[in-house]
């Protein structure tokens, strides 16, 4: 087996999921300079809604196609209002407060969503009914599947769609203007509250689809799965330059690759002392290195450049 190619494929797939989740962090940060710690938990809810839909579908003899469509629709229908609710209740009342206050409510809301999920779905590991049966595909010496390729393509498509939306639509322009200055955007006639709510809705919709893909990829869901995924996606956003949309995409893909390559070779490099279970270490090593060496990230501006 070709380890290098295999790790690159694995890294790209997980990295594209990091990128989609990282977009949710970076868009909100760009507009509010706030880290929405609950975003990873919104992704978790998307994944667990998928679990519920699949369980229902399996019990009723539904086939994979309709079950998938239903899962995507249901997780968006649940996650978007959840994201809007979080913004309205936890962040909007504190918009003019000191910066520490919304950070604390962000952590509070994150814990709240996690334990609400534990009440609904229990604290067990939930394995997704095997409705979707991936067909293996060989590329060179590495193996992947049609499901994994689909995850990668859908993620890339969503990233492209998002870039287009931000660049060319009326709402996208309003988002970019609001990210530079709420007052100035308001003076152009932009309804800033509406733009912020839209940003949360958009991030949550992307997060919902990421949740569906995440549980399809691993086959297992858990009420705390959003915590580590959220931290990694946040790391990806910081790596790319938090607040920068292209940066989040690049950061996500890079982080996925770094993690995957490092965990693939760490056994050989350390003579078997450290194994691939040290994989998570690399993500946070990256976070520390970025914060020390280049706090503005790969594509971020220095904070002085902000309008």
């Amino acid at each position: 087996m070709d380890t290098l190619l295999q790790q690159i494929i694995n890294g790209l797939i997980q990295g594209s999921l990091y990128a989609i989740v990282a977009l949710g962090y970076t868009m909100v940060y760009g507009i509010l300079e706030l880290i929405n710690f609950a975003h990873g938990d919104v992704v978790m809810v998307g994944a667990l809604v998928t679990y519920t839909v699949f369980s229902f579908a399996a019990a009723h003899g539904m086939s994979a196609g309709p079950a998938l469509v239903l899962a995507v629709a249901a997780s968006i229908v649940v996650c978007v209002p959840l994201g809007l609710f979080i913004e309205r209740v936890a962040y909007r009342p504190l918009r003019r407060a000191q910066r520490l206050a919304p950070l604390i409510t962000a952590i509070g809301v994150s814990i709240l969503v996690e334990y609400a999920a534990a009440l609904i779905w229990s604290k067990q590991y939930l394995s997704l009914p095997e409705l979707v049966k991936p067909t293996p595909i060989q590329i060179g010496g590495a193996s992947t599947s049609d499901l994994q390729i689909a995850i990668l393509l859908i993620s890339l498509l969503m990233m492209g769609g998002l870039l287009w939306l931000i660049k060319y639509t009326r709402m996208g322009k309003a988002m970019r203007a609001t990210a530079q200055s709420h007052d100035l955007a308001g003076l152009m006639g932009v309804n800033v509250d509406q733009v912020i709510a839209f940003t949360f809705a958009l991030g949550s919709a992307l997060g919902a689809i990421a949740g569906v893909m995440q549980i399809l990829y691993y086959g297992i869901g858990h009420y705390l799965m959003g915590f580590m995924l959220g931290l990694k996606a946040f790391t990806a956003a910081v790596l790319g330059g938090i607040g920068n949309v292209q940066g989040a995409m690049l950061g996500g893909l890079l982080l996925g690759l770094i993690e995957s390559l490092a965990s693939g070779y760490i056994g050989d490099l350390t003579g078997g002392v450290l194994g691939s279970n040290y994989r998570d270490v690399f993500a946070f090593l990256v976070l520390v290195l970025v914060l020390v060496l280049r706090p503005s990230g790969l594509m971020g501006q220095k904070s002085g450049d902000r309008a």
């Binding site: 009326r170 322009k173 203007a177 007052d183 308001g186 152009m188 450049d305 309008a307």
Partner: protein
């Protein structure tokens, strides 16, 4: 009256910056608001634009009650402010800045208006794809004015358009203000340079520590000994 405010009071951070003033601007007028630093001129404009809440008073724009109207709604009604210190979107290009100026508009003549702005300020046209943050202070003021005009304002409020600019640029900016006024746009101008402001406006208000202490025809104020002593340096 197009714009009216009565007993307008604004307080923030525990300070009453505007202490109950009456201001009115009629359609087609060019009205100046002059006074020393800290007199409350900028606060007055921000309150009229909707950037600061009114602590007391009431007002109307084109007959619609103003006090509770949100900022973005006022812009859609045609009440447009060019804030102090320009305030361009530094990380958007010049063309994108102009485009944002027309954000509140629903009609389709935006491209034609943009060409008009480029004709008015040819330097903006040469640099249309550059980021606004790379412009000089004078160019940024031109961009801020052009962007405000893109909104097709019915009342244009300008806060210190001459601040920190070279005399030649000030001349161009004031020529533009006069042209825009001549085209029928109503203007409320806040300006440190009292002589310049009184020369181009029809009426003026003089503010002193949060109150309007004098008002009247600009030509009368130019001759008023108190104004001459306090604001014209004579």
């Amino acid at each position: 009256m197009l714009l009216e405010a009565a007993k307008l009071e604004v307080a923030y951070g525990g300070i009453r910056a505007v202490k109950g003033i009456d201001i009115a601007v009629d359609s087609g007028e060019l009205v100046a608001l002059i006074g020393a630093n800290g007199a409350g001129k900028t606060t007055t404009l921000k309150a009229l634009a909707g950037m600061l809440p009114w602590t007391a008073g009431h007002g109307s724009f084109d007959g619609k009650p103003l006090r509770e109207m949100p900022l973005h709604q006022r812009v859609r009604q045609g009440l447009v402010l060019v804030p102090e210190g320009r305030g361009v979107f530094a990380r958007l290009s010049i063309a994108e800045n102009l485009d944002m100026g027309a954000y509140a508009r629903r009609d389709g003549d935006i491209a034609a208006d943009m060409e008009r702005m480029y004709a008015l300020f040819p330097r903006l046209k040469d640099r249309r794809t550059q980021l606004a943050g790379t412009l000089s202070g004078g160019e940024q003021q031109m961009l801020a004015m052009a962007r405000a005009l893109m909104a097709r304002p019915r009342l244009l409020m300008l806060d210190e358009p001459s601040m920190g600019l070279a005399p030649m640029v000030v001349e161009l900016i004031f020529k533009t203000i006069r042209d825009v006024s001549a085209q029928g746009v109503t203007i409320l101008l806040v300006e440190q340079n009292a002589r310049l402001a009184l020369t181009i406006s029809q009426r003026a208000y003089v503010m002193e520590s949060g109150l309007v202490t004098l008002s009247g025809k600009a030509s009368d104020l130019l001759d008023n000994p108190k104004v001459r002593a306090a604001y014209l340096g004579e």
